[in-house]
Structures are given as structure tokens and as C-alpha cells.
Symmetry: C2
Subunit: 500 residues, 2 copies
Amino acid sequence: MTTAYQHLRTHFLKIAHLDHAMTFLNWDQMVMMPAHGIERRSQSIAELTGIRHELLNDDAMADWFAEARHSETEFADSASLREMHRQWQQATCVPADLLKAQIVAGSKCEHDWRTQREANDWQGFLKNFKEVVSLSREEAVCRQAADRERFATPYDALLDLHCAGDTQVLINKVFGELKSRLPALLQEIMETRKSREPISIVGDYALDAQKALSEQLMGILGFDFDAGRLDVSMHPFSTGVKGDLRITTRFSNTEFAEALLGTAHETGHSSYESGLPDAWNGLPVGEACNMSIHESQSLMFEKQIVMSRAFCQFFTPLLHKALPDTQRFDADVLWQAYTEVKPSYIRVEADEVTYPLHIMLRHDIESALINGEVEAAEIPDLWDEKMQAYLGLSTKDNYTNGCLQDIHWTDGAFGYFPSYTLGAVNGAQMFAAIKQQHPDWQTHFEAGDVGFVREWLRERVWEQGSLLDSQELMRSATGETSNAEYLLAHLEARYLRGEY
Amino acid sequence: MTTAYQHLRTHFLKIAHLDHAMTFLNWDQMVMMPAHGIERRSQSIAELTGIRHELLNDDAMADWFAEARHSETEFADSASLREMHRQWQQATCVPADLLKAQIVAGSKCEHDWRTQREANDWQGFLKNFKEVVSLSREEAVCRQAADRERFATPYDALLDLHCAGDTQVLINKVFGELKSRLPALLQEIMETRKSREPISIVGDYALDAQKALSEQLMGILGFDFDAGRLDVSMHPFSTGVKGDLRITTRFSNTEFAEALLGTAHETGHSSYESGLPDAWNGLPVGEACNMSIHESQSLMFEKQIVMSRAFCQFFTPLLHKALPDTQRFDADVLWQAYTEVKPSYIRVEADEVTYPLHIMLRHDIESALINGEVEAAEIPDLWDEKMQAYLGLSTKDNYTNGCLQDIHWTDGAFGYFPSYTLGAVNGAQMFAAIKQQHPDWQTHFEAGDVGFVREWLRERVWEQGSLLDSQELMRSATGETSNAEYLLAHLEARYLRGEY
């Protein structure tokens, strides 16, 4: 190893130690901190952010990269170098003044959005949002300029922040296939279900018992409570580091499924982190690949495992025991409740079939917006038009439940949305490969055994860290890059034919 | 303000922001973190400690102090400068090699002690401990040399780390008075209680109900749950910052008093922090004065307020309601249970009357040890001799319950013990002044009103931060420096005459 490469490693480990601190201070802030703690907490996190920024902008970095470039012949070392360089470039290629202007504009836009959304005030929002879009376009151009070889469009450069490896070209291929087939599939599903009685699993469910049941489910899914914990927070999330993974969820007195499936989802995210390669702990190449792969793991645990008929068979007796008010329905009703389908306005409430349509609408708009093909003012009309085309619903004049519903764009987080549906595609594709290798998968699920899924993922995904980019990883794990066919086949099997 | 003074302020605020991070990472480690989180947590805290160390050892500091010295004419600014200088000097006057050797020797000694204590293995312990003592003596000499004007003896320089303002001369005066009167007072108390029936408040107490009751007590004592929280941990402690104060306690199924009084104690510590001056947030002069004053606040809340007859009258109905198994005894029995006295071997289990005797024994030994007047090998004999003189108990050959019982000395924390009894003295002295100003104090306590105590303390202690040193503070608050007379009067009144 060259000295320059060693310097870079040491430097990035230092950054990881600061990130550790910020990770758990943020967790604490969301889960534990009393209201009046915010001022001094913010000051502390700002200080650590500043120190981290200084480290990444260290004058020596450029020289180290120049000296280390192509010096490492081992595949893993050169991947490590590549990932360090990517993070460094991302952190340093945008002028500080622009970043600062973005933080100011984004904070104001997000803050005002909280009331504007409720007030259906598109014009008010637009005033702030134009500035956010303008600055994000500037950012995207900057990022593209830093690496023209990798980024065909400005939007590609923003994608790289969340979905590195998944280009606009790849997304167009995958989403194109979905767009051409999913709306018709949705219609067909709705048609076959027209006469179905609505199902209700609403009841009276004790919060303590739900928490214990969630922990039981996590254990079944392979979560290690010596290396993580479950807590309650307003907005469920998962965070932490390998060895200390923190999942949060929230519970309702009348509804248990959302918390349970949410816990399964976050357990998927955590499982990925728990399997990352020890040898690269704290270095960029040791981190999870990208958000599209991350989401594939959470959706696999939620949609492919816990929502399957076979797992419902296994889990229902545990459910009956933990929440006695569920005893009036059986595994089949539970599965039917899990797999209800209904086109609706709100993305976060959408089911497995309609969810990708919400995402494609957003991706259509944000990619055109960032690449300068449409203007912010045109969004409501585009939204309405696409909602009608994809989901058969109009959002005309309904901004609250239309283009004002998501927080992502308010502070300029463009390029994130695609990861949700790429995750669903990747998850279905990996699970198809697992099923092929384990034709008896349903027998395992009926016995509460998911170990074979974990082992498959551990070897092909988790232990890979960021050695491969997302599409290389998909090819190495499943034999091909992301392919919408597997998600479509999954949806047809489950929702048209009721197969699993 | 001079530029140098401004630089110092900015620099110390930066340090405070790092301390904030470490405070809450440590809290998390004690209360929340799963077992496997320790490795990466330690690395993160080590990194922050290193950055903090670099900041304190910044080359510019000495120049700033030299330039700022005597430049500030406002009393508060010059106190601020003094406190910054004190912390800087403490952090930089000991050579790094010595500090490192101390960490190595201390860690080994503390680690081995955990088994040696149980095994009654004094000789094994002594082997490690000699090195700890030798390094601590070296440290004390170093610290004394850095400020000969302030430190009359090497031990005084270690006292300054925990009990700044309380010199060996002051302690000799206060402890001398206690030594000459407390053993006889103890005998007299035991004599009057010879025929008393033993009291038991053991029962069956639900943990949830105890936690809720602890929170209720904290609220009555003025704790603000928007600015802090109560959790459960193996070893009760309090930490945090103003605006976010974290108390922990532990609960037993059969015993409620320890947790309740422990909560009151930690609420005293937290109340002090909650009242520190906003204007000096994050600067050394804005911190609590020293451990002798800190302990006076916790002991005031525990011993003077919650253990008083009047408060027991108020609190017993709440206790009866929360823990039904307490309904078989009344407020008087509760008070009798709180105020039982029994000479015993173990400091942490000692009652209010015998506790100071445990401390004086330790202070006698540690001050002589650090000043080179006795050797580590002599400790068991000294311990036995003093236990017999102060408490009438022999610890001959009984190291487990004798000189091996405490963790403090194992890693070289000499100079801390006196703060416990100085705290009791200061607390009794302040409370005597409060009673003089509020002759109807018992009526207030019977109504659950402790606001007048908080207001007295807020103005004279909490809002003073470290503007005054501990003895200046005592004089300004009570008219005289620490005086054992008040603690002795309190013990006589409560334990001989049963007055409150």
C-alpha cells in the first residue's frame, strides 16, 4: 500500500468516528431528547459537521488522491480508493456559497411547506420552491462538471448521491417497462376484486403487547438484540452502525399491521448493515452500496417474507397469542388485509401495486425539472395529468394531496425517489433468484425459518459492501442488471393469481 | 473585550460542543447501547477526546492567556478568564507520557480489582496499586509545581480537580471538628435507640408504579420534563446539560426507598445544572462550582427535603396510592425507616450519621498517601485502626468489605472523597440559613411546596456558576465558610431529638 493510500484510510476512519457520534446524537434527538435540548444539541452537531467538513476539505486530500490513483492493484483496495474519491468529490465539488444558499433556501421552503401543505397553498410554496429548484439545478450542473465521464445529465449527478450506479438510462429502461404494463395490471387487479367484501382488522390492541410482538418478529427475522434495539418514535426509521443498529416504529391502539410491517421493513435495512464486511469497517467501501440496494433489502423482508401467505400461516398463531383481539380472523384474512389494493392520492399510504406509479410520476417530473425541461410552475398540471394516466385519479386544484404531499423536494433532495421503486424491482429480482435456488421456500416460511434468505443475501449483497456498484452487484447476484420483469411477475402472481 | 479573550471564549465554546457530544454518547452507552456497540463507540469517543485534547493544547492558547491576563476589568469576565485558565492548566500541566502511563496502570488496576475485591486478594491488588499510587504522586507533584501559590501540598493539587476552592487546611478544620464529635454522637444515638424495634418496609412493589412515582416526586421537587428525563440503569447517575438533564435510577421489586431517595438525590444535582447562568452557557465559568457544592445540592434534596418528617407527611398518601403494599405503614414509620442508623462496613450503604466517618477515614489515608507520608502497603492496618476508632468495627483481614470496597482509588481518582462530606456540611449549612429565613418551612413541606428552597438556591448557588470559588460561595450564601457545626446540629436534632 502507498503512504498516500494509508493517509486516506486514516483520514476516512477519523471521519467515520465523527459520523458515529452524529448518528447516535441524531438518534437520541429523534427518540430520547426532551424539547428544550434542541439548542445545545444543534450547536454540538453543527460543530461536528464543521470538523467533518474541514477533514474532507483538507488541503492534502487532492495530493493523496493524485498520488494513490491507480497505485493499488488489489481489486478491493482500488474499490476502496474509488469510493473514498467519490465521497470526497461529492463533498468538495460544490462551492461552499452555493451549499450555504441551498441550506438557507431549503430550510425556509421546508419550514413554510408545513403550513402551506395544509392550506393547499401552491402559489405560496412556489415562491420559495423556485429558488430551491434554481439552486439545485446549479448544484447538479456543478456536480456533473466534476465528472463528465460518469454523468450524462445534470440529473445523473444528483442520482449519484443516493442511487450511485443507477443511471438515468437504466432508470428509463426499468421505469419504461413498468409504465407500459403496470397501469393495465392495476386495472386488471381492481377488476378481479370488484365484488370482494372489504376486510377490516381494526381492533383493540395493547401497545406493550405490540412492542413485544414486534421484537419477537425481529428475532424471527434474525435481528440480534445484543447488536441493536427497537424503540418508539413519531416517524419510524432505522439507523446506527454494525454492532449497534437502532430501529424505531410507532404503535396505534386500533391497528397493528402498519407497525408490524414497518418493523419488518426496518429489520431488512438493519440486516443489511449487520452483514457489512468487517474488514472495511468505517471506510466508504465498507458501507452499504446505495439506496436502491438498501431499499431492496427492506422491501424483501417486508413484502417478500412477512407479507407472504406462507409466513402469515406461521405468524398468525403468534399474533393470536400476543393480541387476543386478532383471534376473530385467520391467516388468510390477515394476508388479504396485507394485500389490499386501492389507488389513492398519498404515496406513503400506497400499497405494493400502486406505489411504483407514485414514484414514476415523481421521477418523470424531477428529472425534467433538474435537466431544465420543465419549470416548477408547471408541476401541478403535470402531476394531475400523470395521476390520471397512472392511477386514474385527478389532483386538479388539490395540492395538499397532490404535489405538496412530500417533504423530499422542499429542501432540494432530488434524485432520491427512484430508489424506492428500484428497490422494489431489485428485491423482487433477488427473491426470484432465491426461490429458484430454494424451491421449498414456502415450507421454510411456514416454519418461521428465513435463515436461507439471510445467508443468500449475506454472501451476495451484505458482505459486498460497496465493492461493486449497484448494477454490478445485481448482475453478480442475479445474473442481470435491474429488470422490471421480476417485480411485474411478482405482482401478477400475488395480486392476480393469489399465489403467495 | 480583548481579541485574545474573544479567541479563548470561541475556543472553549468549541470544546463545550465536543463535551456535549461525549456527554450524550456516554449516557447512551450506560443506558441504551447494546453490548456489541462498545467497540465503535469507544473509537468515536476516543476520536472526540483526541480532538478536544488538541484544542486545549493549541499552541495559541498560552499566548492568548498571556495577552488576556488582567485585561478584563468586569468581575464576571475576569472570573471567566480565571476558570478558562484553570481548566487549561489542569489539562496541559501533566506530561502526556505520564497521563498515558496512568491510563494504562489505572485500567489494569481497576479491571483486576473487580475480581480481587471478591476474592479478598489484597496482595494481588497491591501489586497493581503501588504503580497507580506512584504515578498519582508524580501527577500531584506536577500539578503542584504548575501553581505553587495555590497548592500548599501535592494533595491540594489533586483536590483542585474535584473540590476546587476547598483546601487541605479547610478540610482539616471541618473534618477535625467532625472527628472530635461525631463518633461520640453516634454512640449516643445508638444508645437511645437500643430498645427500638427494627422496622421493615420490605414489600411487593411494581416496577412501573415505582418509576411513575419517582417521576411524580421529581415533578414535586421542580424537575422540568421538557428539559430532562428519567431512565433506568444499573448504576444510578445524573448527567446532561441545562435543557436536557438525564437522571437514571434502578428499581427493586421488594424495596422502594433506595430508588426514591436516589431519585431525589439526582434531582438535586440536576436542579443545580438547570439553574446555571444562561449568559455563560458552554464556558467554564458557567459550569457548576465544584463537587462539594454539587453534592450539597443533591444531599439537600435527599436528606433535608425528602427525608424530613414534614415531607414524609405530605408524600405518604401519594406513596400509598402508587404502591398499595405500603398502606400497612404510616408517615412516621416511613420516616423511621429513612432515618435508621447502623454502623457498617460499606460506605455506599451507610446512613446519614455514619457516612462522614467513612469519608474521613478515606481522606486521612489518601492525603497521607499522596503527600508521601504513608505507603500503599500500610493501608489495611490504617483502615482497620480507623474503622475501630470511628465506627467500632474491625476490618482485619477483611479487605473485601474494607479497603477494597471502593472503585475511586483503583484508577487514581484521589481527592474526590472529601466532596461527599463537604457536600453534607455545605447542604446542612445552607439549609440552616433557609430555615432561618423561612421559619414556616415545615408547613410548606407538609403541602409539598419546595419552591422557596429552589428560589433560595437558584439565586445564591445555581445562578452563580463558577463566578465564586466554593468557599467564597459559602460565605456569600450563608455568611461563613464551610462549618461542620451545622451538620452536627442537624444530626443531633434529627437523630437524638427526632425533631424533623
